[in-house]
């Protein structure tokens, strides 16, 4: 299209070679000829043109001159340039007139051109340059915009993505293998070169750094099979060693003296044999061994172990008069002593034996109370006051509060010395009885307390079994006495104990109740305290619970937990009580001046009253009737104009005795509140939902927090983020294709 239009427009000058098919060489020659001719022609033409202009100027008709651009520009507009001979009409014959002159033209072409001349049909007028360009542009733009639209999916995906990590096409994180780093890198600086030369000199890897030559060599040295065998051997050796160790440990723990005697004898024999051999083979080593023995003997002697000054020796000495064995034992001891005082090598054996015998005996004799902390050392530390070995007795109910006599304590201490098996047996035996007795008693006496204890039991899983069983045993003994004690105790005492216990337990449940109870106890310390009216409902529930609690099954399956240790009155206990009182006293003292509760109630009453319906008097004295001093408005009027305001809606706190809810708008808060619905949200509820769900780790698990607080854009420090490349598009297409495939599969 383009070529044709240009051809039509200025057919004279521009592209003759488009017209002629062949014979370029000749054409060039012809051009050269023509140019010289044209120059002369042009000169004449210009003259003629001038003349014509002068003539036309004479005629007074001014030719319209197109404005020229005065600015310097490389390319001038096509509108301001007028070609010469513009208005002339051009015939086809003008164009192909030179055809006859050119000999090289083929006959075929000539014929075709002639035919063209004959046919007078006009070709369609070509589009103007502007229009054709416009069409081109339009087409090109459509093509480009279509091409660009391929990015749609990628872009929307990125816009919606919860997190974008830049740079986009990152390799796998973490250290890269050496090969990848080294490829395309050369030692440049002198330092690098030096390092490389060193590496290559020492057979260190440069290009393939997975294994150094030495490593490879070591790999070759042992095959996999060998390695496996060796590993198995090592394993076996280790196992044997552990068996041996276990055996040795077991043997060491054997308490039988006879066994050790035999063992020692065998050892001694072995040692003697070895020593004899050593004397023959290696006298120097034997001498050393001898020295060692001497040293051991000296040490033994210095320890003064085998003299008759020890406790054991003294007791034996007393017994020696009557007991044959004791006498021999002392004899032996003395003998050992003699041997030790002499510098004789052979005495060693006896010593060792003695020693071996002594050791386990010592361990056995060691009494339990050695482990106990000394009583009365530190009174402020409650942990040091109790004895560990002593089994603490307990009392589970307040009705059975027992003052434990000194005799009982003694009995208990004796019990301690009983073996564990016995203790266990006793425990099982007594458990049931004790339980039954205890439950029956407590249930009869004060139901509330028992329930509380049962609840405590559920909580207190910490108490170890041993302690629990010990406690039980203690109780089983004290049981009989407890009954008597209960009889003998004055009722006042019982009630007091009951009350204290009661208060303590209820304290755990509610704070208010405690306060109330305290008030009552302050007023009447001895009087049996009746629970306040508000408590009655709860008490009913408790009694119901109690009935449940008495069921045998439950009683038997439950352990006791509330550990109450009957103590002789100690300092720390009183201190504890004092501490409690202190706390309360402190609070009381702090708020001595003001009565908070009554203040609060007054406050609330005031607020309630303020909100109540009021009667408003709107009468205007003197309106419509006589007015003045001493005159009252008529009763009718009063009745008519006294208006009762509508009652306010019920208060939100009317059923909440301890709360005042103010429904007034608080301006200081409204300053922080959102007053219009923000843009992307469509309803207040959705907005509120987004606000309601917390993000922080105070309310969420670590994983959730991480997920929720993921930043939208993540960039790596110091990494250049390159623009997106076409590969992303390809990737995206592939993904889309895959997902489509999967969908298809799913459908199938």
């Amino acid at each position: 299209l383009f070529t044709r239009s240009s051809l039509e427009k200025n057919p004279s000058a521009e592209n003759p070679d488009m017209l002629y098919d062949g014979g370029e060489d000749e054409l060039v020659g012809a051009d050269a000829d023509m140019s010289s001719e044209e120059e002369e022609d042009g000169y004449d033409e210009r003259k003629r043109q001038k003349l014509l202009e002068a003539i036309s100027a004479l005629g007074g008709k001014r030719k319209k001159t197109l404005g020229e651009r005065s600015e310097a520009a490389v390319q001038m507009s096509e509108f301001t340039v007028n070609a010469e001979g513009e208005g002339d009409k051009i015939e086809l014959s003008d164009l192909i007139g030179s055809m006859a002159k050119t000999p090289g033209l083929s006959g075929k072409t000539k014929k075709r051109l002639k035919n063209m001349e004959h046919s007078r049909k006009a070709i369609d007028c070509p589009l103007s340059k502007q229009e054709s360009e416009r069409i081109q542009r339009d087409l090109a733009f459509q093509k480009v915009s279509k091409e660009v639209s391929h990015w749609n999916s990628v872009i929307t995906q990125n816009q919606r993505a919860e997190q974008l990590v830049f740079p986009l096409n990152q390799g796998p994180s973490g250290p890269q293998p050496m090969e990848r780093v080294v490829v395309g890198w050369k030692a440049q600086t002198p330092l690098e070169q030096e390092v490389f030369s060193l590496l290559s000199a020492n057979k260190q890897p440069i290009n393939d750094p997975i294994l150094t030559p030495t490593e490879e060599a070591s790999m070759k040295a042992m095959s996999l099979e060998e390695a496996k065998i060796r590993r198995a051997e090592l394993q076996k050796a280790r196992a044997l060693q552990s068996y041996y160790e276990a055996k040795a440990r077991r043997q060491r723990k054997i308490k039988s003296k006879k066994y050790h005697k035999v063992q020692n004898k065998a050892k001694r024999k072995d040692f003697l044999k070895q020593f004899d051999e050593m004397v023959k083979k290696d006298p120097a080593a034997a001498l050393e061994e001898l020295n060692k023995m001497e040293l051991a003997r000296m040490q033994e002697r210095m320890s003064l172990k085998h003299q008759n000054s020890g406790k054991w020796a003294k007791s034996k000495a007393i017994m020696a008069k009557y007991d044959e064995e004791a006498r021999t034992a002392i004899q032996q001891q003395l003998e050992v002593n003699k041997n030790l005082t002499q510098k004789v090598v052979t005495s060693l054996n006896n010593e060792e034996e003695e020693e071996e015998e002594e050791r386990p005996g010592d361990a056995e004799v060691l009494p339990d109370f050695v482990n106990d902390a000394e009583q009365g050392l530190d009174f402020s530390n409650p942990w040091l006051s109790g004895t560990l070995s002593q089994d603490p007795a307990e009392e589970t109910s307040d009705a059975v509060t027992v003052t434990v006599s000194a005799e009982e304590n003694v009995a208990e201490e004796e019990e301690v010395e009983e073996t564990e098996e016995e203790a266990l047996l006793r425990e099982f035996d007594s458990r049931r009885k004790l339980r039954q007795a205890q439950e029956a008693e407590t249930a009869a006496a004060i139901p509330v307390v028992v329930v509380v204890e049962e609840e405590e039991e559920d909580d207190d899983n910490d108490a170890s079994d041993k302690e629990a069983t010990g406690l039980l045993r203690g109780l089983a003994e004290g049981c009989g006495e407890a009954d008597q004690a209960a009889d003998t105790d004055t009722s006042a005492q019982l009630e007091e104990g009951l009350r204290i216990r009661d208060v303590e337990d209820v304290e755990l449940l509610t704070q208010e109740e405690v306060e109330l109870e305290e008030e009552t106890t302050d007023k009447a310390p001895v009087k049996l305290q009746h629970p306040p009216a508000t408590e009655s409902f709860q008490n009913a529930g408790k009694t119901r619970k109690v009935k449940k609690g008495i069921e045998l099954k439950q009683v038997l399956t439950k352990d006791t937990q509330a550990i109450q240790v009957p103590f002789t009155p100690t300092v720390e206990d009183t201190e504890d009580a004092a501490g409690k009182l202190d706390q309360r006293g402190l609070i009381k003292e702090a708020f001595a001046g003001d009565d908070i509760i009554s203040d609060f109630l007054k406050d609330k009453k005031k607020q309630e009253d303020a909100g109540k319906a009021k009667v408003v008097d709107l009468t205007l004295p003197g309106w419509g009737e006589w007015g003045g001093g001493g005159l009252k408005p008529s009763r009718r009027k009063c009745r008519r104009f006294r208006i009762k305001t509508a009652p306010p809606p019920p208060r939100k706190d009317q059923h909440l005795p301890g709360v005042i809810i103010s429904e007034k708008r608080n301006s200081s808060i409204s300053l922080h509140q959102v007053n219009t619905l923000p843009f992307p949200f469509e309803s207040p509820s959705t907005f509120e939902n987004t606000i309601r769900s917390p993000l922080g780790r105070t309310w969420n698990t670590e994983c959730t927090v991480k997920k929720v607080t993921k930043p939208k854009v993540v960039t790596r420090l110091g990494a250049i983020i390159k623009p997106m490349t076409r590969e992303e598009l390809v990737k995206d297409r592939k993904q889309a294709g895959n997902s489509r495939l999967q969908e298809l599969k799913l459908v199938k």
């Binding site: 003052t403 110091g718 623009p723």
Partner: protein
């Protein structure tokens, strides 16, 4: 009678000791919401504090690079090295800067008169400059060795002044603009293609970094013209009510570009639909001279004649932040660093300034806990952004007096115009004064 209650603590190591050293330390925690009440109010307080702290820590200015003896007219980022920046000044001098040391590494007299445009080749080994002396010069990135003279690798003598320059993303092809847009092969001394569309001069040309064959240019006849390097003709042209100075393509989204206009606004266009911009970014109070996108494509920064630079989110009409200093004059060129952390501005008073892209961000390596805390507070700020107090604090910026008053004035003017239009509409035949949206107002025509 004395009784003692003994409560026994049980500490089972299984509950708090981790199995291996690599495990996370186990912190027993009860997430029962009744134990942690008032979550909204507590988080609100945290968000408020975070917002306040952000404002407290917002110190964006990092450094100033001085050394030019005339206004900085153009800058170029190095494509491979983050710490290298090139700048050209109005006296034809080009300086290469080391950003981490804040010092000039190399100075060369590239042109006589202005250095109009500068771009680093994609491989980072050389760079091109164009100047008022009608030449295009290619320079080596490395400074010449001892005794060597500073000489360009290539010099192309043109017929006209070149006003802008850009390089293809990954081919040895670059484009210049002046009286026409030329596409050059690096190996040839004449352009391989020239685009004209009417007679006018172009102020800038930019290659699309994603669809690398596309270009766009800003012309002095208030138009933005799109080109395809493969076609012989331009693609389309949109004429706006005022001239655009420069434009920048979004590096992550192939068909979006933003142009900086003389009418104080920036316009983001979708190149497929030029009839109206997608978003009009307002806030500047004078002509916008330059714009550059963040490498993440989420934000862009603009430099203005009003001596400030502003950072816009790509989809918001108003700026998120404004940077200015007392001594900074008209900001002529701006760049966003390739690691998305810094902004560089070159201004009339011969200085290049280095800013943080996020004013309150802590620079350098963050400990994991720091990072977590930062992202948590960021999310909190986002969550409570609509609450009036938080919004007020987050939006508060100190502005120089004249800009503040000018903004106010512009607002009043705008309101007055709006009122007038409203009145006109009210008192004329219904439908005769159509509503024209802000976006459509600024586009005159789209020429196919």
């Amino acid at each position: 009678r004395y009784q003692m209650k003994v409560k026994v603590l049980s500490r089972n190591p299984d509950d708090y000791v981790r199995e291996t050293k690599l495990d996370i330390q186990r912190v027993p925690r009860n997430y029962d919401p009744s134990l942690h009440p008032f979550e909204v109010s507590r988080e609100y307080t945290r968000a408020l504090n975070a917002t306040k702290l952000e404002r407290v820590f917002a110190k964006p200015f990092v450094a100033s690079l001085d050394g030019h003896r005339d206004g900085v007219n153009c800058m170029a980022k190095h494509t491979e090295s983050l710490s290298t920046l090139l700048s050209g000044s109005c006296d034809g001098e080009v300086k290469v800067w080391n950003l981490s040391k804040h010092e000039c590494v190399r100075t060369l007299q590239a042109h006589e008169g202005f250095v109009r445009g500068m771009v680093v080749r994609f491989c980072g080994t050389s760079f091109f400059t164009v100047g008022d002396d009608k030449t295009i010069k290619q320079w080596k990135m490395e400074s010449p060795g001892y005794g060597e003279e500073e000489e360009p690798l290539n010099t192309i003598l043109g017929k006209t002044v070149y006003t802008g320059l850009d390089h293809h993303q990954n081919d040895p092809v670059f484009a210049t603009c002046g009286q026409q847009v030329d596409i050059w092969d690096e190996q040839r001394s004449s352009p391989i293609r020239s685009f004209t569309w009417g007679v006018d001069s172009f102020s800038s040309v930019r290659f699309n970094p994603v669809e690398t064959e596309l270009l766009a240019s800003c012309a002095s006849d208030r138009s933005i013209v799109l080109y395809d390097m493969r076609e012989s003709t331009p693609l389309k042209k949109v004429i706006m009510s005022m001239r655009s100075n420069t434009l920048c393509w979004n590096p992550m989204e192939a068909y979006y570009f933003t142009c900086a206009n003389e009418d104080y606004n920036l316009y983001t266009y979708d190149m497929r639909y030029l009839t109206s911009p997608i978003i009009v970014h307002m806030d500047h109070v004078s002509a916008v001279l330059d714009v550059d996108y963040a490498p993440t494509g989420k934000e862009f920064v603009s430099a203005s004649f009003d001596k400030t630079l502003r950072i816009f989110a790509k989809d918001s009409g108003h700026s998120r932040s404004v940077y200015h200093t007392k001594r900074m004059q008209h900001v002529i060129c701006i760049k966003w660093s390739a690691d998305n952390k810094y902004i560089l501005s070159g201004s009339d008073e011969m200085n290049i300034r280095l800013w943080k892209a996020n004013a309150a961000e802590k620079l350098g390596v963050l400990a994991p806990r720091e990072r977590e805390a930062a992202s948590y507070s960021q999310k909190l700020k986002e969550k409570f952004q609509h609450h009036p107090q938080i919004r007020r604090i987050a939006r508060h910026r100190h502005l120089p007096k004249n800009i503040y008053h000018q903004t106010k004035e512009l607002r009043i003017m705008k309101e007055a115009r709006r009122r007038k239009e409203r009145n006109l509409r009210k008192h004329s035949k219904p439908g005769s004064v159509p509503m024209v949206s802000e976006k459509e107002k600024h586009v005159v025509t789209v020429v196919k």
